[in-house]
Symmetry: C2
Subunit: 204 residues, 2 copies
DNA sequence: ACGTCAACTGGACTCGCGGTACAGTGGATC
DNA sequence: GATCCACTGTACCGCGAGTCCAGTTGACGT
């Protein structure tokens, strides 16, 4: 329960890497137990089935992503007080982070499960839903703050605008995966930034 | 070879509906043959394996989507000669079309296969790639035409801007699937339209 | 020193699914 | 009447998920 790390986390590490590389269905329990150097029985001791594994993976992934966004925009806020610039800087940091991943971002677990959702039970699907609603809330909140000191040059719905962050990231990752290029997602974020720069003008 | 339609197409119809609903892996050959009312042998007579089915499905889907875009923007061009307005109208038509699908758009086969690509052979992956590159080319071409009579208020890469169409659509569809809402994709397209309206200004 | 519990190992088994192989059949066509 | 296409139907294989369970090993309390 220390030297060879917590077995459960080790399973999740191996599984996450494999799933991001080739998808959930294509990842066999056989290969997970081989990677984690445990027996099949050991695997089922920790997770009653693949669904439980998916659930645990999603929970961990979402938590990590939340923490990452928290950190990113906290750093952005340190660099600039203005709400719009804070958003712009945060997005820039996000884009840079995505670019720095040497072999491109592994792809988003959310989208990957969204497209195979019948494989999973309600718990997994709800988790997925809550994650995206969380992002909407986060970004909507930021845009509301921006709206206090800026007008928009065209009418926009702030929920939809918040969703657009998720949308361009997820969409960019889809392109990236399919094209085998490396920076579509960060490119898309930078374009979205351009949109925001054009959209918001300081209140008179 | 007529009354009960071409069996091959019937298989593709059933398979496409099932795959869009629950993903490729979750769709069994058993259920396809049941739906198409043929025997297992009959299925393998038409497709040597599931990969061949995926390939045929993608080919058909991409062809249909190309035709749809062709038609959409042809109609847009009839309504307005100006290159920018033609783009804006085409996107509006696209958004409306996505909204009119009663139970939401079934989701895009491209993204769905992109996230399970290790299941497929090189032929399928290349098809996927070509489809997206085709969209890039199409939209890039349209933006080049727009650039002849419009300046951009911020510098943008036209390839990336072309990709943004695919990106917001695919991203919107991911949200739609995960959230079980009905119009995220069309909302995102409308926001992208707003972006274009702000980005391009007539040349002086 | 003894019991106990958590964290496994290992093996045997079932089931569903993808895929193979192949013999046979009914209907259209030449 | 022969040929071929488009199947049907059945038998069979291998793999991966999931179940069951008996047994082991080490830490910890009394």
């Amino acid at each position: 329960m220390d030297q060879k790390v917590d077995t459960r986390s080790r399973i999740l590490d191996i599984a996450e890497a494999a799933v991001l590389e080739k998808g959930f269905e294509a990842t066999s329990i056989e290969e997970i137990v081989a990677g984690a150097e445990i027996s099949r029985g050991g695997f089922f001791y920790h997770f009653k089935d693949k669904n439980a594994l998916a659930r645990a993976m999603l929970e961990r992934y979402i938590e990590a992503e939340e923490a990452l966004y928290d950190d990113l925009f906290a750093r952005a806020r340190e660099l600039n007080d203005d709400s719009l610039h804070c958003m712009l800087i945060g997005l820039k940091l996000l884009a840079e982070m995505l670019e720095d991943m040497p072999s491109g971002h592994p792809g988003c677990v959310i989208a990957s499960t969204a497209y195979q959702d019948r494989l999973f039970d309600k718990g997994v699907r709800d988790l997925n839903r809550q994650a995206i609603l969380g992002w909407r809330k986060r970004f909507r909140g930021m845009f509301e703050e921006i709206s206090e000191s800026y007008d928009t040059r065209q009418p926009v719905d702030l929920d939809a605008l918040g969703d657009m962050v998720s949308s361009v990231v997820e969409g960019g990752l889809v392109l990236q995966r399919a094209l085998r290029e490396h920076n579509n997602a960060s490119e898309q974020i930078m374009l979205f930034r351009t949109f925001l720069k054009l959209l918001f003008v300081p209140k008179t």
